[in-house]
């Protein structure tokens, strides 16, 4: 019974079915969404841990893979993230009480000089949907801001996003600055002009062209 329910939750996340009144997706009209089903699962006594790991996370993972394969696009991912958030909201008390633990902390930001944020936001949604806590420093973020966030969350991973060749050059500087203070920090980089070669050149730890790649890397740590 709970297995079926968890599967339904994952389908709601994958398809972006937020709640009963949401008209999207059209073929799921009038059905319960991630909101109602998560709340129902909690009422039935399903552990918050299971709801996260067997419901919300697999749903986000499936949409992440589809997105990587260009089978769905930004709108579908936004809807999935919205459904995930609707479910996640019911889990907040369990995160606060410590009953459910996140896998770790991921600090993200678009690098200094760059104000593109759509890709960075999607990355944040996907990683959060994979069970991580995401701290979003916003756009145009200088080294000092990443470093002070690291002081607050010393074991966090860092994700740098950049969309412009102009600001790609700043990425190397930021990696250098972070490594000068905390050489053991793992730094992931991405964004339109970034490549694996570039990652090697600036000494970052991981590059991926899509958020799912970052999720896979983080989950292996």
């Amino acid at each position: 019974m709970s297995k079926e329910l968890l599967h339904q939750i994952s389908v709601c996340v994958e398809r972006g079915k937020v709640n009963k009144s949401a008209p999207f997706p059209p073929d799921m009209k009038e059905q319960d969404g991630a909101d109602e089903l998560t709340s129902h699962a909690i009422d039935l006594g399903v552990s918050a841990d299971l709801i996260l790991s067997e419901g919300l996370v697999p749903g986000m993972e499936r949409i992440g893979v589809k997105f990587r394969e260009n089978r769905v696009f930004v709108p579908e991912v936004l809807m999935a993230a919205k459904a995930m958030t609707a479910g996640m909201n019911h889990l907040r008390p369990f995160f606060q009480s410590g009953e459910v633990k996140r896998k770790g902390i991921f600090i993200i930001g678009t690098v200094m000089g760059d104000l593109h944020d759509i890709g960075k936001n999607l990355l944040g949604m996907m990683v959060e949907g994979a069970g991580w806590e995401v701290i979003d420093l916003g756009v145009d973020v200088p080294s000092s801001k990443y470093i002070s966030a690291l002081e607050e969350y010393p074991n966090a991973f860092i994700g740098l996003s950049c969309l412009l060749t102009t600001t790609m050059l700043n990425m190397g500087k930021i990696v250098e600055d972070i490594q000068a203070v905390k050489p053991e920090t793992k730094i992931l980089i991405g964004g339109a002009p970034v490549t694996d070669d570039f990652k090697n050149k600036i000494g970052a730890d991981w590059y991926s062209a899509d958020p799912q790649g970052a999720v896979e890397y983080l989950n292996k740590q």
């Binding site: 696009f73 809807m79 000089g113 200088p142 060749t165 002009p193």
Partner: protein, 363 residues
């Protein structure tokens, strides 16, 4: 010898050409570099461009919004930085860090608005045809100098709507069937139609439309959404211009990968595809498929080739493009986006020189 305008229009109509036209847009800091080197700012003449861009004068729909009035129902209680300036749409732009150069951060007036009525009443900009009657003379003047005229109607409907509402909320409105999406898109479309008509009446040669529907790795949105929400609205704008001047050429810009949308764009009357970002789309493939129905503009990579390429690499790519297009022409060469601070001026010169090396008469 053809005038630049004749050459420009012939190549865009794929009727043969004498030289391959080029188009550059320099960012402020690059214009500054240019001025330091050459003592003037007229880079368009310096690079012998065959055309000039024109833009009408628009007025904000709300002086209050433009002044950034605090107690408006818009801007979602967002604290706007002191440096925020407002464009005619009431969209806020605040300064980035020094590293951001000319680039600004956008603040969306309709973000967080839940009342559809507020969206229906949101003060859009307007333009007064009388105040813009200079446009006819300006177009004539450029024509008399032998040059072609292209007008700027980019951020036509989709982008301007997302700038007003924020991309995330506009997309969610669309997906949820919320009437707010329809209201914003209909209003921006209606305004774009008015401008398109006016430009056509003023005698411009090319109408440039643009709305980003591509990203580095693939389309930004699915085909269903594009077909239902954007394609018919873009068609309206094109039709509005063509009712006045059936011969006006229509240019469409989208960054990123948008190959799947090309057949639909051609169907609604687009003639010129820009920029065909080569890091995201394969130019030769696109040319093979659509080179007999469309012309191209841009096509040289802003992410690799133009900022970091050697002069030799640039020369080779320029020659490739001109040769791929062949005798009939059908290409205006340029970087796939604005020329950013990291681009060496010498690369632009190398690019232009390379187009002139294959200077030929194919008519």
């Amino acid at each position: 010898m053809l005038t630049p305008r004749e050459n420009f229009l012939r190549t865009l109509r794929r009727q043969g050409f004498e030289w391959t036209p080029i188009d550059y847009w320099l960012c402020d800091s690059k214009i500054h570099d240019f001025e330091n080197r050459y003592g003037h700012r007229d880079y368009k003449s310096f690079f012998e461009m065959d055309h000039r861009w024109v833009k009408i004068f628009e007025k904000t729909g709300s002086p209050e919004l433009k002044a950034g009035i605090v107690n408006s129902p818009y801007f979602d209680n967002e604290e706007l930085p002191d440096s925020t300036e407002f464009d005619v749409w009431g969209i806020g732009h605040s300064k980035g860090s020094e590293a951001a150069y000319h680039m600004t951060r956008m603040h969306h007036p309709l973000k967080g608005v839940t009342d559809a009525d507020l969206i229906a009443r949101y003060p859009l900009p307007s333009f007064d045809p009388k105040e813009n009657s200079f446009m006819i003379n300006e177009v004539k003047k450029i024509h008399n100098n032998g040059l072609a005229v292209i007008c700027d109607l980019q951020m036509t409907i989709w982008e301007i709507s997302w700038y007003l509402r924020s991309m995330e909320e506009l997309i969610i409105d669309i997906m949820m069937g919320d009437e707010k999406a329809r209201i914003i898109l209909d209003r921006t479309t209606e305004y774009a139609c008015q401008k398109a008509r006016f430009y056509a009446q003023s005698g411009v040669d090319v109408l440039s439309l643009g709305d980003d529907i591509g990203t580095q790795a693939g389309p930004m949105i699915g085909m269903d959404m594009w077909e239902e929400w954007l394609k018919p609205r873009h068609k309206k704008v094109i039709d509005a211009a063509r009712e006045v001047n059936p011969d006006i050429l229509v240019f469409y810009h989208s960054c990123g990968h948008y190959t799947p949308f090309i057949p639909g764009l051609l169907e609604i009357g687009v003639d010129i595809l820009n920029p065909i970002q080569p890091e995201c789309m394969n130019f030769n493939e696109v040319h093979d498929l659509y080179g007999d129905k469309a012309s191209f503009w841009g096509t040289l990579g802003s992410q690799q080739l133009i900022p970091f390429g050697t002069k030799e690499e640039i020369r080779e790519e320029v020659h490739n493009r001109i040769n791929t297009c062949g005798e009939k022409g059908g290409i205006v060469l340029g970087p796939s986006h604005l020329v950013e601070p990291e681009v060496p001026l010498d690369n632009l010169i190398a690019m232009k020189d390379a187009t002139r090396e294959l200077y030929k008469r194919t008519i």
